[in-house]
């Protein structure tokens, strides 16, 4: 398919990328392109300028720090799935990254692209909310830090404003176990519903695909009854679509929350 005419530029630093994004209100950051290019083919988006982030070294790489992990926004799913640091510190991220789509998409798709597109069926938003990640957003006025649970604002909408850039994601050191469960369209396909859980004293469960943004639920204990009643208490109003009616998604949310909680509490 033919894309609408567009300009292209490949900056070498975050600073250059920010000035390019600030100079054109219809500029879009191009990360792995596994969503944006298709959206442009369908002419759902028609940016005037693509700011390709693939040559910005500051956005690459996974670092282990005293507090946990620092993920560059341009880390690919394949890198996340394979990094030793991730397997050591927060293996759930590697497990989940390895079940996104297929080899080709994992080779190109990025962590930053996944969260900034904020498709409600994406894998990483609930996981990052459950583990209590912090997003680093750079802009003309400097850097600001946004907790994952405040980052996702609506369908395809995040706290990254025009002219800003998500540069990295900090994932805290693991206190207890983590878990993730999903029901997908085919193996490793799009999620119909998913749930992520993380133990840190209490249990944090984040439900995906049941609202515009991940639904965070704090559960006092990880036993099945507590998790089920906490999910019921959230009074979910999930969407119906060709893959599942709302009632089925609501049921999946309960089941998947329980499975993720069981994994996080080490009982699985």
């Amino acid at each position: 398919m033919l894309l609408a005419s567009v300009e292209y530029v490949r900056p070498r630093s975050v600073e250059e990328a920010l000035s390019l994004l600030a100079a054109n209100s219809n500029a879009r950051a191009l990360a792995g392109g596994q969503t944006l290019v298709n959206v442009m083919k369908a002419r759902i988006a028609a940016p005037e300028l693509l700011v390709d982030l693939n040559d910005v070294p500051e956005l690459r790489g996974i670092r282990e720090t005293d507090d946990g992990l620092e993920l560059g926004a341009m880390v690919t799913y394949t890198q996340l799935a394979r990094a030793e640091e991730v397997h050591r510190e927060r293996p759930i991220l590697a497990d989940v990254a390895a079940q996104i789509a297929d080899v080709q998409v994992r080779n190109r798709g990025t962590v930053g692209g996944n969260v900034c597109s904020n498709d409600p069926t994406n894998h990483l938003p609930p996981v990052l909310v459950a583990v209590g990640a912090t997003m680093t957003i750079a802009g003309a006025s400097g850097i600001r830090l946004v907790p994952a649970e405040e980052f996702f604002l609506g369908v395809y909408l995040t706290a990254v404003s025009p002219g800003e850039l998500l540069t990295g994601i900090s994932v805290p050191r693991r206190q207890g176990g983590d878990g993730f469960a999903s029901v997908t369209i085919g193996a490793d396909g799009t999620c119909i519903a998913n749930a992520a859980a993380s133990m840190n004293g209490s249990l944090r469960v984040a439900l995906g695909c049941v609202a515009a943004t991940p639904v965070l639920i704090e559960v006092p204990s990880a036993d099945e009854e507590s998790v089920r009643s906490a999910v019921a208490g959230a009074e979910l109003d999930p969407p119906s679509d060709i893959h599942a009616p709302a009632a089925y998604r609501r049921q999946l949310a309960r089941v998947l929350a329980t499975r993720a909680a069981r994994q996080a509490s080490g009982a699985a």
Binding site: S5, E7, V9, Q34
Partner: protein
């Protein structure tokens, strides 16, 4: 950094030959390969990133060339299905696909071969499960995959 531009002259190496062409920024890599370089082995299937028929290897990374812009490949080294055989001879993978009846209509085959090549480059002795996961991004509507998996296993065996 260069200035924003709607077109640019890019230089890419494809299967060992270097090409310089002016491309529009909106041009997909798959269209650049097929229409500008006349390398029509790489197929356009779904054009939505689902089917894998357009899979190629760019700087050692397997990807779908309908989800990358040609302008992004400036300076890159690309492998396509045309680069698999040499001097009119099929390579071991291609031969195994023929011998094991791993294709019927052939539409998915170029992408399937590139995914198989990327797998064997990295993992010369894959298990059946690893082969199946490696071709997850490539859809075949003729074979039911069984013969494709057998062909890749046979090529791996032959390469040992």
């Amino acid at each position: 950094m260069s200035e924003p531009a709607a077109q640019k002259t890019i230089s890419v190496e494809v299967n060992g030959s270097t090409y310089e062409r002016e491309v529009e920024a909106r041009r997909l890599l798959v269209h650049f390969l097929r229409d500008d370089l006349d390398l029509t082995g790489t197929h356009v299937g779904c054009d939505t990133g689902n089917c894998g028929a357009c899979s190629v290897i760019v700087d050692g990374t397997l990807l779908k060339s309908c989800m990358m812009l040609a302008i992004q490949a400036d300076g890159a080294s690309i492998e396509t299905v045309e680069g698999l055989g040499a001097d009119g001879e099929l390579n071991a993978l291609q031969q195994a696909f023929g011998e094991h009846h791993a294709l019927q209509c052939g539409y998915c085959t170029p992408g399937m071969l590139m995914s198989a090549k990327a797998l064997l480059d990295e993992n010369p002795e894959p298990t059946e499960g690893e082969i199946r996961r490696a071709i997850q991004g490539n859809i075949c509507r003729c074979t039911g995959y069984v013969n494709i998996v057998e062909a890749i296993a046979a090529a791996a065996e032959a390469g040992r």
